[in-house]
Symmetry: C2
C-alpha cells in the first residue's frame, strides 16, 4: 500500500519512451531537444504520477546539492532569524535549501557542524560565526569551498561577505552623545576575538577623536561575551571610574541591557544620571523601559546579500570584496542631556 515514489523510469514506462527522453523533456534546459507534442505527453504523465525528481540521485550525478550550509552562533539570538530569513527568501525561489546549524561559538561543535555540512555536499557555506583569526575559515578558503562571511568577518584575503558599517554607526552614536553634552563617554567593548567587538572599539576611539576627545582607559571595559551578564559586570567596573562617565556605549544591545540593570542596582536612573546606548536594534528594545537608543543594522538585507554572493560564487565567480551595509542611528529614551550637576 505504501507506493514508492515515481521515478523517471515509471514515467517513461507510462509514456512508452526511454527514461532519458523523460529526463530531457522535464529539464527546461534540454526540453527544446524534444518534440513539443511528446514533451507535453511526458509532462502530463509526470503530473499524473506526481513525479518528483529524486534530489540525492540528482546530486550524486551532478555534484550539486542545491543546498547551502549556514553556521550561526545561536538561532535563539534575535539578530539571526531575520538574517536566516533573508537567506531563505532569495535561495528558496532558486530551489536551494539552507541547512542552518548552531555552533554556540564552540570550536568543537563548529568543526562537527562543518564536517556534517561538507559530508552533505553543501554548495556553499554562509558563516555568521567567524572569528577574527579563524583557522577554520582559512581551511575552507584553502580547500576552495565557496564561503561567505556575514556580520562577523575574519582577517583573511579572499574572503567574501557582508558586514555592517561600524564606523558610521559609532560616529553617529558618539556625535549624538556629544551633541547632548556628554564628554566623559565609556564603552563596553564586545569580545576582542570577534570582528564586531574589535571594530566597534576601534571606531569608538576614532569617533571620539573627531570631537577632540580621548577615552580614559578607565572608561573602557572589555567584555568576554556579548551577553547581558557581561554587560552588567562591565558596567559595575565603569561605575567605579572617577569622575563617573555620563554615558555608556554598549558594544551591542545585550551589553547595554546589562548595563541598565547595573545602573538600577546602584539606584541610578537612565537617562537622567547616565545615558546608555546599544547596538543592533534587536526586536522589542523600543519597548523597554527606557526605550533603547541604538544603531539599527540591516540583518535581513545582509542575509539576502549573502545569499546572492553565495550564488555567484557557486557559479564560479571569484569572491567579491567584503560588502559594507549602511546602518541607522535610532534615538530613543535611554539617552538624554548630560545632567547639570555632572
Amino acid at each position: 500500500m505504501i507506493r514508492r515514489a515515481a521515478t523517471l523510469r515509471d514515467v517513461a514506462q507510462m509514456v512508452g519512451v526511454h527514461l532519458s527522453t523523460v529526463s530531457r523533456a522535464l529539464d527546461p534546459r534540454t526540453r527544446h531537444l524534444i518534440t513539443p507534442e511528446l514533451a507535453e505527453r511526458i509532462r502530463s504523465a509526470a503530473q499524473e504520477l506526481s513525479y518528483r525528481p529524486n534530489a540525492q540521485a540528482y546530486s550524486l550525478r551532478t555534484r550539486r546539492s542545491h543546498s547551502i550550509g549556514v553556521l550561526v552562533p545561536d538561532i535563539t539570538n534575535p539578530i539571526f532569524p531575520p538574517m536566516v530569513r533573508g537567506l531563505e527568501d532569495v535561495l528558496a525561489p532558486r530551489h536551494y535549501v539552507t541547512l542552518v546549524v548552531n555552533t554556540d561559538d564552540d570550536g568543537g561543535k563548529t568543526q562537527d557542524a562543518l564536517n556534517m555540512l561538507r559530508g552533505r555536499g553543501v554548495d556553499a557555506l554562509v558563516v555568521a560565526c567567524a572569528l577574527r583569526d579563524d583557522p577554520m575559515l582559512a581551511g575552507l578558503l584553502a580547500a576552495h569551498v565557496p564561503v561567505i562571511a556575514v556580520n562577523r568577518v575574519a582577517e583573511l584575503t579572499g574572503l567574501g561577505g557582508v558586514v555592517h558599517d561600524d564606523a558610521q554607526g559609532m560616529a553617529a552614536l558618539v556625535a549624538h552623545l556629544v551633541g547632548l553634552g556628554h564628554r566623559r563617554i565609556a564603552h563596553i567593548a564586545g569580545p576582542g576575538a570577534l570582528s564586531t567587538g574589535a571594530s566597534r572599539l576601534a571606531t569608538f576611539h576614532a569617533a571620539l577623536a573627531v570631537h577632540g576627545l580621548a577615552a580614559d582607559p578607565a572608561c573602557i571595559a572589555q567584555s568576554q561575551r556579548f551577553s547581558e551578564a557581561e554587560g552588567e559586570r562591565c558596567a559595575e567596573v565603569l561605575l567605579q571610574a572617577k569622575p563617573r562617565p555620563t554615558a555608556i556605549v554598549g558594544g551591542n544591545d545585550l551589553l547595554a541591557l546589562g548595563a541598565l540593570r547595573a545602573l538600577r542596582r546602584h539606584g541610578l536612573s537612565c537617562p537622567h544620571d547616565i545615558s546608555i546606548t546599544g547596538y543592533n536594534d534587536m526586536p522589542f528594545v523600543d519597548r523597554l523601559d527606557p526605550p533603547l537608543t541604538t544603531v539599527r543594522i540591516a540583518t535581513y538585507e545582509a542575509g539576502r546579500i549573502a545569499a546572492g554572493l553565495a550564488l555567484r560564487q557557486i557559479e564560479g565567480e571569484a569572491p567579491a570584496p567584503i560588502e559594507t551595509l549602511p546602518v541607522e542611528l535610532i534615538v530613543r529614551g535611554s539617552t538624554g542631556k548630560v545632567s547639570s550637576k555632572a
Copy 2:
C-alpha cells in the same frame, strides 16, 4: 589542485583492500566482521585521506536521508527559534539535519515547501504551522509520511505531536485575575482556524465558569492574526463594551502588546485602569513597561520532544497520541487589583 573528496574507493586503494571492506570497517554496525587489525589500518587511512562519507550516495542507496523537514510559519517570530534549537539539539548528535522552511501561513508557500522537502527525501516532517482543519496534514498522514505537529495541531486521528496545556494556562490566568478582584474579564481570541486560538478561547470560557462567571459576548473579540496590529484593533472594540472590562486576556503576547498600545492611546493606564495578560512569555516581555503577566510555554522542550517523536516514527513505531506539556503562570506588573472605583 582542487582535489575531489576522497571516496571509499580511494581509501580501499590506499590500504589495498576492496572498497566494500572499507565500507564495513567504517560502519560501527558491521565493523565486527573485520579483523581488528585491518579495521584499524582502514580507519587510519580514512583519517589520513580525511574521508567523509557522501551523504547523497548513502541516501540513494538506503532511502534514508537523515534529514527532517521543519515547517514553521516564520522563524522571525521569537517563539520558534527555541523550538528549532530543541529539535537540533536532539537531532544533530544522531546525525540528522533539520531543513527549516518558512511558510508564512500561506497555502501556496506551504505546498511548495512540502514538495521541496519531500523531493529531498526527508525522513520525517515536524510541522509547527498546522491548521485546525488541515488537508495538507491529512494528505501526509494518508501518504504515511511520518509527521509530528508542534504547538499547533489539527483535528486528525493518528496525528502525533506536542502541545502546551491551554486549559492549565487559562485556568491559572483567570484564577489570578479573579483573585485580584476582576469579574468583568475580556478576551482577545487568536484566529479560530488555529488550534491555539480556538483552544484558548474555549478554555477561557471554561475557566470563567469555574468561578461562576460567564463572558459577556461584548467582552470577546476575535482577531484575524496573532499580531500586534490585530491586538490593537480588537482592544479598541473591547474598550467600547459597557461596563468596560477591568481585565483583558490576550490570546498571545503580541495581541496583549497591541492591547497595551490601545490603552495608552485612550489615556488609560495598565494595570491601574485595566489589567492585561499575554500568553507564551516571549523574550523580553519581562522588560516591557509594564512587564507582562503571561503564561510561559516550554518551546525548547517541545522541540526536543518533537524530535524524539519524529525519531521514533522513523524507526517504524506508530504515532503516539498528542503529548501535552505543562505551562507556568508568570505574574508581572501588567496585572493588578481591580481599581476601587470600578
